[in-house]
């Protein structure tokens, strides 16, 4: 029984030392050599503690659990530590002396070697840290110990076998399992902590990199935004400059021909008058072109703002018709207006007028004889304005080109004074007003242009 208790005592001490070792070891983990030496010291301390709590069978024949300490030290702490521990144990055993000294020293050495063997075996087979294998270690170490009993003085061998066999083979392997498990768990915990620290480090690094990227992107975006705003400003300034530069010379041309024609600069002959009028009309035409080009530029640059208000579309159509009466009369054309009573719609009056004027102007331009019909009617939340003429018409294949910029089409050998932008501009304006515009025609007979706008202009919010 005393041996039993002695072994249990030893195991308790070993475990306690191991726990303390665990506390301190984590601070040394970065210094490998220092850590090994520290382990060596702790295990040495543990082995001394067990050897001090020994069971004395007879003077010089002592038993303790040093085999556990040393074998586990070999397996878990490695060569440096197990060497230190073994040396400590051997010195102490020699000091104790007695007949069992040889066995004692052999047990120490062989436990160390078996422990180291398991350490290296573990490299290729990590499951060795599991309880069943630790038990195997314990079994091998202590069977070996029982074999070494034969190195004892002959007279005690039999007594020793009787006394220690059961306790040794029953308790010590289990002690090995507990000791090994404790150390393994400590090892695992350290590994997990390290792994967590590493992962944390990686995460932080990734986070920092991401933050850097985000701030870089934000900077890039801010720069791009500034550039876009500058570009936008440049666009505005360009259009404004264009407008100003193009109008300035026209001021002189239109102005001075006007003055001369009024007779303010002296008498004007018939022929001079005739020629000056041609200059004047050309200049007026040029002005129209400039206005169209500037208008298109502004629409393309997205710089046109609509002025949405309620107005009477019938009255507007009537106004436009009246403005063309003289011109139509000159060309011997009849203009007929077909409107319902007052019809209020909500849209941009100026721009709507611009489109109607364009359509009527085209109709008159391309009609030699007959009539122009301007019709207004309301249908399904929309208002349709139709401008029909008995003019030269448009070929089927040309209808698609009508609304293109500078789209020239076959016009029966006619050279018309147009900017080529009129219908293009009308189409762009119609799009802005959220309406539709289309043309139908029979070549040689006439055309109908239909311009549709919603009764109530609605801003579509994205």
């Amino acid at each position: 029984m005393p041996l039993f208790y002695s072994f249990l005592n030893n195991i308790a001490i070993m475990l306690a030392v191991a726990i303390v070792h665990g506390f301190i070891y984590r601070y040394l983990k970065d210094r490998k050599i220092a850590a090994k030496i520290f382990s060596g010291v702790t295990f040495s301390f543990a082995v001394l503690a067990t050897m001090s709590n020994k069971f004395v069978l007879s003077p010089g024949v002592v038993f303790d659990a040093r085999s556990i300490v040393i074998s586990i030290c070999g397996m878990f702490a490695g060569p440096i530590a197990v060497f230190m521990t073994s040396v400590t144990a051997i010195i102490h055993r020699i000091n104790t002396g007695g007949g069992g000294m040889t066995m004692g020293i052999l047990v120490i050495i062989s436990s160390a070697l078996i422990g180291l063997a398991f350490r290296y075996w573990r490299r290729s087979k990590p499951e060795l840290a599991k309880p069943q294998y630790l038990y195997l270690l314990g079994l091998i170490v202590h069977l070996n110990m029982m074999l070494l009993v034969f190195t004892l003085p002959k007279e005690v061998i039999s007594q020793v076998f009787q006394t220690i066999t059961l306790p040794v083979l029953l308790i010590l392997p289990i002690g090995t399992v507990f000791y090994g498990k404790l150390l393994n768990d400590q090892e695992e915990q350290l590994k997990t902590e390290q792994s967590l620290r590493d992962k944390e480090g990686l995460l932080r690094k990734a986070h920092d990199e991401l933050e850097l990227k985000v701030s870089e992107r934000t900077e890039e975006l801010a720069q791009a935004n500034i550039r876009l705003q500058e570009l936008d400003k440049l666009k505005s300034m360009f259009i404004a400059s264009m407008s100003h530069e193009l109008r300035t010379p026209l001021n002189s041309i239109i102005g001075f021909t006007g003055i001369i024609l009024q007779g303010m600069s002296g008498e004007v002959t018939g022929e001079q008058r005739k020629q000056l009028i041609m200059v004047k009309t050309s200049a007026a035409h040029l002005l129209d072109l400039i206005n169209d080009v500037i208008d298109v530029s502004r629409i393309e640059a997205g710089k046109v703002k609509l002025d949405i208000e309620q107005f009477d579309i019938s009255a507007l159509a009537s106004e436009v018709k009246k403005s063309f009466d003289i011109l139509a009369d000159e060309q011997g054309l009849e203009v007929v207006l077909d409107i319902p009573g007052p019809m209020r719609i909500k849209s941009d009056e100026r721009r709507t007028k611009q489109v109607i004027i364009n359509l009527v102007s085209n109709a008159i331009k391309f009609t030699d004889e007959g009539r122009i019909n301007i019709k207004v009617l309301g249908r399904n939340n929309k208002v349709e304005i139709l401008v029909a003429d008995t003019g030269i018409g448009i070929k089927k294949e040309d209808i698609n080109k009508l609304f293109q910029a500078f789209g020239r089409i076959t016009t029966k050998d006619r050279l018309t004074e147009g900017s080529g932008l009129g219908l293009y501009l009308s189409k762009k304006i119609t799009d802005l007003l959220k309406g539709q515009i289309k043309a139908q025609s029979h070549f040689g007979i006439g055309s109908v242009f239909t311009f549709t706008v919603p009764l109530k202009y609605q801003e579509i919010k994205k």
């Binding site: 407008s243 102005g255 600069s265 046109v304 703002k305």
Partner: protein
């Protein structure tokens, strides 16, 4: 005889406007830059000022603002000459203190009549 001050940097435009106004019976003073225009406005106290908006140095709007700031009472009508470049040009002219505006290129037939409407 009523006096009109023209502030315009383009010499052809200046000649044109000046010619029309003289023929219509007005006395004409000319300034080719904003600062000169402000000086003459204060010195001569014309019955109307024609102010081109695009001027070197301080532009027509700024000149208008300064003239308005220096007037005690009896505002001189200031007509802006705009070239319909940007949206809001007209509004800016009126906001700076212009009484009215005329778009370039001017209509030689109607110009004199329009000026007559504004002059004191």
């Amino acid at each position: 005889m009523k006096k009109i001050l023209i502030v315009e940097d383009n010499e052809k435009n200046m000649y044109l406007i000046s010619f029309i106004l003289k023929k219509s019976g007005y006395e004409v003073t000319e300034a080719t830059a904003g600062e000169e225009g402000i000086e003459l406005a204060m010195k001569e106290k014309p019955d109307l000022i024609i102010m081109d908006i695009q001027l070197p140095g301080i532009d027509g709007l700024e000149a208008t603002k300064r003239i308005r700031a220096s007037e005690a009472d009896g505002n001189i009508p200031i007509i802006a000459l705009t070239s319909y470049a940007m949206v809001g040009d007209k509004e800016k002219a009126l906001a700076a203190g212009c009484t009215g505006y005329i778009e370039k290129p001017i209509d030689p037939e109607a110009f004199a009549a329009e000026i007559k409407k504004y002059i004191k």
